[in-house]
């Protein structure tokens, strides 16, 4: 295609976008609504994912060793655990270290536990991490079978619930986003269909003087893209501002070592690009869908 032709298509597309007035605003409104919802969902989903991954990484198995175990038994045990498939790391922690951790984690109140330093009721433990956090349950079960294991802790219920919730949230989010995108495409294609009807005469003349279908299609393609991109401006602004405030407030929470969310940069940039991309695709797809019918020779 010649550059002058491309320029013409863009000029034509822009002019049509402008000329269609209220229809343009209606289409942009549809895209805007969709993209705000899609954007909020994406932000929620990606952060949930992030939090889940973080928590998953924190999941570890504490294998409490019987107090009666000799040093050689402990060595044998370590070797056995190491032989299990899918182990990322194994650390040994003495009961003294365990008590210290416990006291530290409880702050002021923990001082009371100091009394136990002379007669420590805790066990030595192996702290085991799985390569894939989803394997935790299986590995824990295997460790539990070994001799000299008193008990295995990994917060079963907590971990299982987290995994289930994660998967559930992901699926629901994806289905909702797909439904929203579909609705927006339908709305745009209907809007452009109306504008095409208004330009039926023009298309007829174009065909009469020998315009190719691609040539006729281009301005509509450009118009759809404009509608999509214009429709993504407000959603991006809303999400950038909203997320900025969220990260500012989370920063305060994070001081208390709660869950973290994704940093503003580069996440905000990525999400903006995704939103523009989805907007433009919705617009282009919608417009091409409606033009198709009018181009049958």
């Amino acid at each position: 295609m010649k550059f002058s032709t491309l320029k013409r298509h863009f000029k034509e597309g822009a002019r049509n976008t402008w000329r269609n007035g209220w229809m343009t605003i209606a289409s942009i409104g549809a895209v805007t609504t969709t993209l705000i919802l899609v954007g909020v969902f994406l932000v929620l989903m990606l952060n949930l994912n992030h939090i889940a991954n973080e928590l998953e990484d924190d999941v570890q198995i504490k294998a409490l060793i019987e107090v009666t175990a000799e040093e050689s038994d402990v060595d044998q045990l370590e070797e056995n655990i190491n032989n299990i498939n899918g182990i990322e790391s194994i650390d040994f922690s003495t009961k003294e270290e365990e008590l210290e951790n416990l006291i530290d984690s409880m702050g002021e109140q923990g001082q009371a536990w100091g009394l136990y330093e002379q007669d420590n009721p805790l066990n030595d433990v192996f702290i085991v991490k799985a390569e894939d956090p989803l394997e935790t349950e299986r590995i824990a079960a295997e460790i539990e079978e070994f001799d000299f294991i008193y008990r295995v802790n990994y917060g079963q219920e907590y971990v299982d619930t987290l995994f289930k919730f994660n998967e559930y949230a992901r699926n629901v989010g994806l289905v909702l986003i797909a439904a929203l995108v579909f609705t927006a495409i339908f709305l745009i294609s209907n809007t452009i269909k109306i504008t095409i009807l208004a330009r039926k005469k023009e298309i007829g003349i174009m065909k009469l003087v020998g315009a190719t279908n691609n040539f006729i299609r281009w301005p509509f393609f450009v118009e759809g893209m404009f509608l999509g991109v214009l429709g993504s401006v407000i959603p991006i602004a809303v999400i950038l501002i909203g997320y900025y405030f969220l990260t500012q407030n989370m920063a305060i929470l994070q001081q208390f070592n709660f869950v973290t969310i994704l940093d503003f940069y580069p996440f905000a940039l990525q999400i903006s690009l995704i939103i523009v991309g989805i907007g433009a695709s919705i617009g282009v797809w919608g417009s091409l869908m409606s033009v198709r019918k009018f181009l049958k020779v």
């Binding site: 295609m1 010649k2 032709t5 003349i205 065909k207 009469l208 003087v209 020998g210 190719t212 040539f215």
Partner: protein, 228 residues
């Protein structure tokens, strides 16, 4: 130039538009197609630029058989044919100049050439001084001249005019006829469907008369032959 053989055309609703048409038209001819409404004139002319495809038979225009033409080739085929309608079919929001330039833009002519050719064809139809007007500011005759200019700007070898004077008063009609004759004199084949007895009987040309989808009369320097 144009060769129709055993052409039949039945619309999906069962209406028989053409019922065995055989005709040959040579390059440079000026032909009137006459006949009552519904006699098949429109279908006949539409086939020449492949707006319609026959249900049976062959239609060859400019050595191209439209029945075997791939739809992707149709636009290129049409660039060699100009079409003018009774209702002008100009774009109301564009100026005269833009309306004609439009026909060249869509076939991706260079801006420099577009300017040159539009001005030249405007000169040919005598509307150079009205280039910046929009169609509504022109008389019917002038609008039809713009439509002719748009059809001619590609230098087509065939010009199809479907009742070009149908909406015009007699005086303006003669003006359009004079322009069409000039175009014909430069070698372009002209096919004109018309209901104007006066024109057919005054500007003598070949006359093809149609009835019930068939050619019932084909004579050189013919008469209109129907009572109006």
């Amino acid at each position: 130039m144009i060769k129709m053989q055993e052409v039949y055309m039945t619309y999906p609703n069962g209406v028989v538009a053409l019922n065995g048409v055989d005709v040959t038209i040579e390059q440079g001819e000026f032909v009137y197609i006459v006949g009552h409404s519904g006699a098949g004139k429109s279908t006949f002319t539409k086939m020449l630029f492949r707006e319609e495809v026959p249900t049976k038979g062959s239609v060859v225009v400019n050595n191209t058989d439209i029945t075997t033409l791939k739809w992707k080739e149709v636009p290129y085929f049409r660039r060699n044919i100009g079409v003018v309608y009774q209702d002008f079919r100009l774009l109301p929001k564009l100026t005269v100049y833009e309306n004609i330039a439009f026909a060249l833009e869509v076939i991706e002519e260079s801006p420099k050439n577009i300017r040159k050719r539009v001005m030249s064809v405007l000169d040919q139809v005598g509307l150079k001084n009205k280039a910046r007007f929009i169609p509504d500011e022109l008389s019917g005759g002038e609008q039809q001249r713009v439509a002719i200019a748009r059809a001619m700007v590609n230098h087509p070898s065939l010009l199809i005019a479907d009742e070009p004077t149908g909406n015009l008063d007699p005086e303006t009609s003669w003006e359009i006829m004079r322009i069409l004759e000039e175009i014909n004199a430069s070698g372009t084949t002209i096919l004109m469907a018309t209901h104007s007895k006066e024109i057919v009987n005054t500007v003598k040309k070949r006359v093809i008369a149609m009835e019930d989808g068939m050619i019932v009369r084909d004579e050189h320097r013919g008469e209109y032959g129907y009572e109006v």
